[in-house]
Every structure is written in C-alpha cells, then in structure tokens.
C-alpha cells in the first residue's frame, strides 16, 4: 500500500487503518496495545502466551507504534477523550496533532419515541411487562464484557431480564454460561 502511495504521490492520505505513510490517521479502533493489555489482565497463562506470540497482534502493535511515532503523521483523529489521552501518554504525540471528534447519532432514528413499541417487542420476546430489562448491543462478546454482565445479573433483583443483541462466534459458550448463571444453585 505504502509503495503505491509513494508512486502516485497524493496530496493528502487519510487512513482508518494503521498505515505508516498516512498524513491523517483516524484511531477509530482505539489503541491496540491498550486493548491487548486489557485482555491480558484476566486471561489464563496460555492465553496470555498466545496473545504475546500472535504474529497478528505483534504486527498491529508494531505498525501502530511506527505510525504514531513516525515523522509523516500530521494529525490523529480520536473519537473519544479516552483514546486521545492514551495516544498522548503512550506514544508522546503532541496535543496539536490530536483532534477529538465524536461520532454522531441520528437522534430522529434513535429517540425515546422508540418506546412506543415497548409492549409489542416485549410480547414477542416473551418478557413480562413489569420486568426490568437490561440491554447490551454489541458484537464480539469478549470485548463487550458479556461474561461480566452475566455474572452481574445475579446481583440484580428479579424480575430482571437481559437482552444481548449482536454477533458472537462462540455463541453456544455464552448461552451455556447464561444458563449456569440463571440456575439458582450456581
């Protein structure tokens, strides 16, 4: 990719991936090194080892470092102050290069008016009207902390219900875990 850019010499290169030769980098995925660190915290030794030797993770963290400490970088677009502070403290990128732009949400689509369908949706899912319903929307349950949430559901007074929306490759494991968490003996 970079040699193509060097050949065509565009005026400005904005990348959303960790590309070492771009001018503007949008850190939409955050800091990969921080994500790895968070994953390592409670992982088993074998998993930690797997993360440490994984060529993919090594490659991505190396590229991230090269990109953020490289000379060609003109600006980094962060989508939260958390990411901005992480990039600043971890890679020493000066404030002037860091810009914070939040994502937008269409407040006409997502509005309290959605509660009009509340009863219908609950009936479809077989959830009692007076139950307290917690919702998690997100794909990749490990990252989203679904396991923690399943454990925490035990500490919530009934009638409570949890809806998890999103894709997960190891769905069966989570369904089993939910069944275990829901059983009174667990």
């Amino acid at each position: 990719m970079c040699h193509k850019i060097a050949r065509t010499k565009p005026d400005l290169v904005q990348s959303h991936e960790r590309l070492t030769c771009c001018d503007i980098f949008r850190a939409g995925d955050g800091v990969h090194a921080v994500w790895l660190e968070e994953r390592r915290k409670e992982a088993s030794a074998l998993r930690r080892f797997a993360l440490a030797v994984s060529p993919y993770h090594r490659y991505v963290t190396r590229m991230e470092r090269r990109l953020l400490q490289g000379p060609s970088l003109a600006a980094v677009v962060c989508n939260s102050a958390m990411v901005r502070d992480e990039i600043k403290s971890r890679f020493g990128v000066p404030d002037a290069k860091l810009h914070l732009i939040y994502n937008a949400v269409d407040s006409d689509v997502f509005s309290p008016a959605l509660r009009a369908d509340r009863a219908a949706t609950r009936a479809r899912l077989g959830i009692a009207d007076d139950a307290i319903v917690f919702l998690l929307v997100g794909s990749g349950y490990e990252r989203k902390g679904v396991a923690t949430l399943l454990d925490a559901m035990r500490g919530v007074p009934s009638p409570a219900h949890l809806i998890v929306v999103g894709r997960e490759s190891r769905m069966n494991a989570y369904v089993q875990r939910a069944a275990r968490a829901a059983s009174p003996t667990a």
Binding site: D29, D106, F110, S111, L135, E142, K144, G155
Partner: protein, 337 residues
C-alpha cells in the same frame, strides 16, 4: 436472558429495554451506547469505554471497572434506583441527551468523575467465574512457592510443577489431590493446585505433544517431497532453485526439530506426571494406614489396594489380630484388606 444474535434493526430492542449495560474491556466509542443515550436510557458502562466520558458529562448513568462484577450489579440496581420501569419510561420521554454538549465538556479535559468509584476489587466470592477464583488461588500459592524457592514461574506447567515441592503446612504429613478437592476452596491451606487445574495442565501438555507429533509427521512428509525439486535441480542445473533449496531444507529441519522437542517433552511430562500422581497416592495411603495393619503385615509388602481400607480396616484387623495371636500363623497380606 435473551441472546437475540445479530439484528439488522436493533431499534425495537432499545424501545423494550429499561437500561443499557456495556461493561466492555475496551471500546473507543461504542455507537450502541450513544444510540441508547439518544433513546434516553440510563447507561452503565466501564471506565475503558469511550462512552464513559459522555455518560459522566451528561449524567446519564454509571461507570465502573470493566471486570468488577459486584460494582456493576450495584450500578445496574442504581441505574433504575427506586424508580419503576414505567417512571423510567416517562423520564426518558422528557429527557433527550445532548451528547455533543457532553462531548465538549469532556473535551475540555475535565476529569471523568466517579470512575475511581468502581475501582474496588471484588472479593473472590463475588467474582462469579470459578476459573478466575482458581487462578487467583493458584497464584497465591505460587507466590508462596516463589518465596521459598526464590524464583517465579510463569507458565501453568512450571507453576504446578513447583507447587508439588512446596512443603505442606505443619501437622499434615501429606495432602492428596483428592482431599484438596473435598476441602472448601478458600481455606488456603493446601499447597497444591486443584485436581481440575492439574488435569488442565496435563491436557495442555498432552495436546501440545500431539501437535508436536503432527508437526514431525508433516516435516517428514515435506522432506520426502523436497527430494523431487532437489533431484530436478541437479538434472537441470537451475540456479533459481538452487538458491532457495538449501533454505527450504534447513527450514524443514528446524520445523521438524521444534515439533519433535515439543512432542517428546509433552509426552514425557504427561507420562511422568501420571506415574508421579499414582505413586503419591499410594504413599499417601500407606502413610495413613492404621498402626494395627503393620502389626499383621510385614512393612515391606505392598498391600493390594482396596477401596474400603480406610474405613473398615481397624475393625477387621482387630478381629484378625485376635485370631492370629491365638493361631500364631503367618499372615497372608494379599487378602488382608
């Protein structure tokens, strides 16, 4: 609990729910949380979530550490508070979250309030995942082991191995894995990992050994296949091939060598560990046999093991002792238990 799976249109779910929870390990800016905020739902998220700063800025929910189960549950209760779901719905209708304003607040660098609130580490009994509890327990013993042996081991295999040689606490001559399983998990006396942890270490070693064998087999096969280009190179005198062939041969040998190391090490580990466990159980048993047993059995005779030995031996031996002291006959140890 409902696992709805991937949905093209998640909007009805936002409508049906009372609160949005996302205890993410790391998420720069979860759009789902922002959508939920736009729907006026209270949010509970983690401090490693980009939504945390928005939630704090707009006072739209709670923030806790990502793996803190107890605090998360408390915040989930708090998110609804004393309000009934219906009241929450009414409030949602009244309040729409202006998170751009919230974002500006956060952008000025105001510290995110309340993040530290969630930092308390939950005690083991509040951590639901058993595996974590086990690991922590092992780690505690691991620390103890390293304090005695003066070195720290990282891998699960070495950890188990070292633990075997930690001196057990006083008054207890020996602790078998079986006993460790029966004892409550938190008594902290046992220097041994749980049987589950042991089995896991064994399984890992065995699995690695199998992988190593596959690697060796593959290496042999590739070596045989390499003979074809080698012969062809000599026939045609192709310089391009001659350049990479030596590297290929060396590479295959390295690959195969690593495989054979892993397989032999893994198999040896598994085999020795199994024999070691058996021997230890035997020793354990012999040490605990009641004294009358040695009155009637020469100590050099290894007794044919019996499941009932521990519970029923004293009584039966009393009878046998009486009989033998009368008859003065030589005992037949094979049938004693």
């Amino acid at each position: 609990m409902t696992f709805a799976g991937p949905q093209k249109d998640p909007k009805p779910y936002y409508g049906a729910a009372d609160a949005f929870v996302l205890p993410t390990l790391y998420d720069p800016l979860p759009n789902a949380a922002m959508e939920a905020m736009a729907c006026g739902m209270p949010i509970v998220t983690s401090s490693k979530s980009g939504a945390a700063e928005l939630v704090q800025g707009a006072d739209a929910g709670f923030v806790c550490a990502s793996r803190d189960v107890a605090t998360l549950a408390a915040h989930m209760r708090g998110a609804l508070g004393r309000r009934t779901p219906r009241a929450v719905g009414r409030q949602c209708a009244e309040r729409r979250v202006a998170f751009h304003a919230a974002g500006d607040d956060a952008a000025t660098g105001a510290p995110v309030q309340g993040v530290a609130r969630g930092q308390r580490r939950a005690p083991p009994w509040e951590q639901g995942a058993h595996r974590h509890a086990t690991r922590r327990r092992n780690e505690r013993h691991d620390n103890g082991a390293s304090a005695r042996t003066g070195r720290r081991c990282r891998s699960p295999l070495t950890r188990c191995y070292n633990l075997r040689f930690v001196f057990p606490p006083p008054r207890r001559a020996f602790i078998s894995p079986r006993e460790t399983a029966d004892r409550p998990a938190h008594d902290g006396l046992s220097p041994l990992p749980t049987p589950a942890a042991l089995r896991q270490a064994l399984l890992v070693a065995f699995a690695l050994a199998v992988v190593g064998m596959v690697v060796v087999a593959a290496g042999d096969l590739i070596m045989a296949m390499l003979v074809i280009p080698i012969v062809q190179t000599f026939q045609t005198n192709d310089p391009a091939r001659a350049q990479w062939l030596p590297f290929a041969v060396i590479g295959v040998f390295l690959f195969r060598g690593i495989g054979s190391f892993v397989s032999e090490y893994g198999m040896a580990y598994t085999g020795h560990r199994v024999v070691f466990d058996l021997r230890r159980e035997l020793t354990d048993k012999l040490l605990k046999l009641p004294t009358p047993y040695y009155d009637v059995t020469p100590s050099g005779v290894v007794h044919r093991s019996s499941r009932s030995t521990r519970t029923s031996l004293p009584k039966r031996h009393r009878a046998r002792l009486r009989r033998q002291s009368g008859a003065r006959s030589r005992s037949r140890p094979a049938s004693a238990g």
